[in-house]
Amino acid sequence: MTKILMKPRIALIVMFVLLFSMAFYFDDVSTIYHGYIAILRSPSVLISDYLEIGGLGATLFNVATILLINVVMISYLKMKMSGPVFAGILTIAGFSFFGKNIFNTIPIYIGIYIYARMQSLDFKSFFIVVLFSTGISPIVSFMIFGVGWADWFGLSPFWNYWIGVPAGVVLGLITGFVLPAFGAHTIRFHKGYNLYNIGFALGVLSMLFSALLRSFHFIDLDQGGPTSEAFHSELLLLTIVLSLVFIAIAYVNDLQVHKKYWSLMKSSGRLVSDYIRDYGRSVSMLNVGVLGIMCVIILWVLNFEINGPIMGGILTVMGFGSFGKHPRNCLPVMFGAYLAVVLTDHSFDGIGMMTALLFVTAVAPIAGRYGVLIGVLAGFIHVVITPLALVFQEGGFNLYNNGFAAGFVAALMIPFLEAITKNNGEEEEEQ
């Protein structure tokens, strides 16, 4: 029995049941249906808070269905729930609060499938890329629902879909097709110190799409909308419950799990760190839960209210608890990000800086490897670079904007840090 309970897959199924039940607890079927259609038909570019667009019930339904589809896909492909896979699933769930839905993710998956077939490789060998690839899914929705093809060609609105659907699907397929090779290449740019590597690769592609669309002078690329903080209490409760579920699963399996936690916290977290493989499921699940509680405390201290993007940030931080993040490497970069906001012209009034405080943990391995002070510096640089990164990706097609920024932070810092480290970078033994 405990062997079943200890599986991360079970935690995800519990999460699905929780999200699905909450959706129908807070809203009736009709509200969820209409909200869900509104979500599917939104351009979904940064920042499209599905809580604002479709309401709480529909958003939770969207998250639950996306979660279920990916868990089923993992089971169908007979994949092991490794650390990166677990992180990918929670990241997808998180971004399903603001940008990902069943409609705009599928063409990208198919693009990767075609690439795998052409390379005579198993689709599942690219599954990490598959999971993180959907960060650029808004390009699909935008081409279908955001461009307004009929107006531009002077046709009836009927043509919006006849032109938009093929355009969106083809662009999604192309993105998926080029991503596996491109993602493997970009990892060298930051040497594995940006945990959102695919976010960086997608940022470069997004930059290309933005430039192409902007060159045609007919598309309004700034379509992000307001966020909704109306469901703060419900989402706070959800985060706390989920965190406790993960912690409980860790303790059900191993009552002494906390004694092994320090060995995980000594790791740098640099890619490719599979905590489930290296430290075991129990310690990883404890880390996931602790990171969730850590996020709740930070939000409470800074008096942030949870909306779609912040919920996405929390789930992403939690997910990477099995793939490179832990409080010891996250807190310094988060503190650096906080300092950058309070000491510069930035402020926490806008959603950008609030989410940056969570997504700055992409560069957590820098703190894990080079210590607290360098980590604080990395967090600081990340926050000042992030708004610039968004300028390059005008249109908001890359949901992992912070991953794009984090790539530059790591690429700026790591070569210098490696050069000046006297002992060639000897770090603490990890076990």
Binding site: S120, K124, E418
Partner: protein, 118 residues
């Protein structure tokens, strides 16, 4: 053998060489034997410390994960730390360690998991 597989094998050779040099071993030989079903890397080194043998065994004898391999293989051979071999462990199935007089012979085995293109 695909171009990617060739690149990957050379990265493994690079990582093993770097690892030895960074740990202060100046005299070692590395032989590669490529076969259809597996590739073997034979690393012969004099006076290899017991702690290092254990470290290599621990890092390399973990289960191979193909999805992680395709994601992170470009990082192999980019060692900046004595305690690396993390990613190498994802690319190599197992290591056998034997003694030959004063020398230690480490045989790293990577099984072929990719289908060859016709």
């Amino acid at each position: 053998m695909s171009k990617q597989e060739i690149k990957l094998l050379t990265k493994i050779i690079r990582e093993l060489s770097l690892y030895m040099l960074m740990h202060g071993y100046r005299k070692f030989s590395l032989t590669t034997e490529y076969g259809q079903s597996e590739t073997r890397f034979l690393l012969k080194v004099q006076g290899l410390e017991e702690s290092l043998k254990n470290h290599i065994k621990e890092k390399v004898n973990r289960e191979r994960e193909i999805e992680v391999e395709t994601y992170g293989w470009e990082l192999v051979g980019d060692v900046d730390s004595h305690s690396e071999l993390e990613i190498l462990g994802l690319l190599v199935d197992y290591v056998e360690i034997s003694e030959d007089g004063e020398d230690t012979v480490l045989t790293f085995v990577r099984k072929s998991m990719y289908k060859e293109k016709k």
